[in-house]
């Protein structure tokens, strides 16, 4: 559908092909990606990943700058703060010696991903044709125990999408915390996390939006042998949020653990999709979602694990729990296992219920007002998804 690419090009900030500082071979690659994308269908309810969301919202034109109501990550806790803004990416001058950060266009491989083959990821794939900024971060094994990096997205342009592409590489044995915080802007971000052997990434993703804001993200993790990823997601509010976490293992004995808290109210829609490919033996994944939907908001939770033939010793846990706070709210919750191997340990569960009324009454009976009691029970519900 030719219109799709033109629509998206026109709606991007800035238009990458007009970016004069862009290396020529990169521009060519992007042009090629755009040509391919023209043949793809637009996102819509025919796609699994978009079945429960209204993709037409992507074209909305908000008039005023939108800013997240919460800007909570304490920048003081971070040794390095990378800011993505209308002016491009800013990186502090004095980087610690365990870290290198360069603009994504200067990096030797602003990663073209095999994911782009599935039309389910059409919105994320558009990123490779349209991205205009981002960083390539390398963390060495010398990173100190408290090493902490903040990626802050603070774009003022309200009506156009800003496409950001980041690459984060952890050397073998490296340990680091990466916090990603969306402050403002309509960001479509693709993050490629490459975790070396025995390295450990802890990550916090905070996307708390006002009722007009939108956000699209793709995280692609590749874990080498004995690597670990522990990733915590807080998605709250917004007009449309669409997150995909995509996990590949390239070795054995690695572990991916994620906890998502999704809170939607008003007209919000949040999609939170985690796909784990157990293509190799003896890896573990544990995916926990706790979601709440109020008013006429909706949430789509999907945890999918694909275990390839021969990937024995894979361990998979999928635990999705959901609470509807109003009659008009909607939650679709889908744990999925596709197992082609023989010896696999897998557990999955999904429930949709309401707030524990008995517990709310217990709190009230001690003098706690109803609203606060409900809030406390929501916090209680969220706890199980706190992984780091």
């Amino acid at each position: 559908m030719a219109g799709l690419m033109l629509d998206w090009l026109a709606a991007s900030n800035p238009q990458p092909q007009k970016n004069l500082t862009w290396p020529e071979d990169l521009s060519k690659k992007q042009q090629h990606a755009a040509d391919v994308l023209k043949t793809w269908p637009a996102p819509g309810r025919k796609l699994e990943f978009w079945r429960y969301s209204d993709a037409s919202r992507l074209k909305k034109d908000p008039l005023k700058p939108q800013t997240s109501p919460v800007d909570a990550a304490h920048t003081a806790d971070h040794q390095v703060v990378v800011v993505v803004s209308d002016e491009g990416v800013s990186v502090p001058d004095n980087l610690p010696d365990w870290l290198t950060v360069e603009p994504i266009q200067a990096s030797e491989q602003p990663r073209w991903s095999p994911l782009d083959q599935t039309p389910e990821l059409v919105v994320q794939a558009a990123n490779q044709a349209l991205f205009s900024q981002g960083v390539a971060i390398k963390v060495s094994a010398q990173a100190p125990a408290e090493a902490r990096i903040l990626l802050r997205y603070a774009v003022k342009e309200p009506s156009r999408w800003t496409y950001v592409r980041n690459l984060v590489q952890l050397a073998a044995g490296a340990e680091v915390v990466v916090d990603e915080l969306l402050v403002s802007g309509r960001i479509n971000v693709n993050n490629f996390y490459q975790i070396g052997e025995k390295a450990h990434l802890k990550r916090h993703q905070q996307v708390i939006l006002d009722d007009q804001q939108q956000h699209i993200s793709l995280q692609h993790f590749t874990l080498a042998g004995e690597a670990r990823v522990t990733t915590q997601h807080r998605h709250q509010g917004g007009d449309l949020q669409h997150h995909v976490h995509w996990v590949d293992f390239s070795g054995e004995q690695a572990e991916y653990q994620s906890g998502s808290i999704n809170k939607a109210a008003g007209q919000s829609h949040i999609s939170d999709i985690v796909v784990v490919n157990h293509a190799r033996k003896n890896n573990r994944s544990e995916v926990t979602h706790r979601s709440l939907a109020d008013d006429s908001a909706s949430v789509f939770n999907n945890a999918k694990a694909i275990v390839a033939k021969g990937a024995d010793g894979s361990e998979i846990e999928q635990d999705l729990k959901n609470i509807l706070l109003s009659n008009d709210a909607k939650i679709a919750s889908k744990p999925e296992l596709e197992v082609y191997a023989d010896e696999v340990v897998a557990a999955h569960g999904s429930t949709i219920g309401t707030l524990d009324e008995e517990a709310v009454f217990y709190l009230q009976s001690r003098g706690i007002p109803l609203d606060l009691a409900r809030e406390m029970m929501m916090v209680s519900f969220e706890q199980e998804a706190l992984v780091c």
């Binding site: 217990y362 001690r366 406390m376 199980e384």
Partner: protein, 246 residues
């Protein structure tokens, strides 16, 4: 203090309380005994304002106010406290934080100043020592992983901190060994004074060896069928509830 008149009440869609009358004056301790399923918990739950327990007839006044019109948290603010027969587990909410939130919410309701966490901690430690309980209770999430006895003690501890003017204890003695029973009784006796009243719901007479009631009532099939002094409890112990069917 508490005037219950001709109360008929439903739990869910089942009629449980049938023309129940009870009057409790300041400083009095009333014991309510009766067979399983007679409506004892329903009475406690009605007073505390539990959802799905609803009066269909009659009235309840507490310190002159129409209690049934108040929200559960307002009743607590007025001084009503229910020690639950089955205390609820609340994962991820620290017991101490929960209690301070409750304490300050009640103070706010009464137009009093809140207390800071340091001051609250001092007060709470003092109470827990007086009750001969362990203070690791404070650090744990509310009732999560507590044994049956710990849950009951936690109810008594909450009562001691919140200092209600009417405390209803719903089978707080059930499942307790004799030492735990003494701790519970001690908690009640320490709070006992001329302005504070208690309704002690119990299945067994033995708690009343430690908490001396002013009145004992027998609840059967949703109404009080017999009232008397402490001696009634002893008689019930000997005779059981078989005579009710006669």
């Amino acid at each position: 203090m508490l005037e219950i008149k001709n109360i008929h009440a439903k739990a869910g869609d089942k009629n449980i309380l049938k023309n129940l009358n009870l009057s409790v004056k300041p400083g009095e301790v009333h014991a309510i005994m009766g067979p399983n399923g007679s409506g004892k918990s329903t009475l406690g739950n009605l007073l505390a304002g539990m959802p799905h327990v609803e009066a269909t007839e009659g009235s309840v006044h507490f310190k002159g106010k129409n209690l049934l019109e108040l929200e559960p948290e307002e009743r607590a603010g007025e001084g009503v406290f229910l020690a639950f027969q089955y205390p609820v587990e609340i994962p991820g909410v620290n017991n101490m934080y929960f209690l301070r939130t409750a304490y300050n919410a009640q103070r706010k309701y009464r137009g009093e100043e809140g207390i800071d966490s340091a001051g609250f901690l001092r007060m709470v430690k003092d109470k827990i020592n007086k009750l001969h309980m362990k203070d690791d209770l404070l650090k744990r999430p509310v009732n999560v992983g507590f044994s049956g006895g710990e849950k009951k003690r936690n109810e008594v501890f909450q009562m001691a901190v919140l200092e209600p003017s009417l405390a209803i204890l719903d089978e707080t003695d059930s499942g307790l060994d004799i030492d735990a029973l003494k701790i519970v009784a001690d908690g009640v006796n320490q709070l006992r004074d001329s302005n504070r009243s208690f309704i002690i719901i119990t299945h067994y007479q033995r708690l009343l060896d430690y908490i001396e009631p002013d009145y004992v009532h027998v609840l059967a099939d949703g109404q009080i069928v017999k009232s008397g002094s402490k001696k009634l409890a002893l008689e019930l112990e000997e005779q059981g509830y078989g005579w009710l069917d006669a």
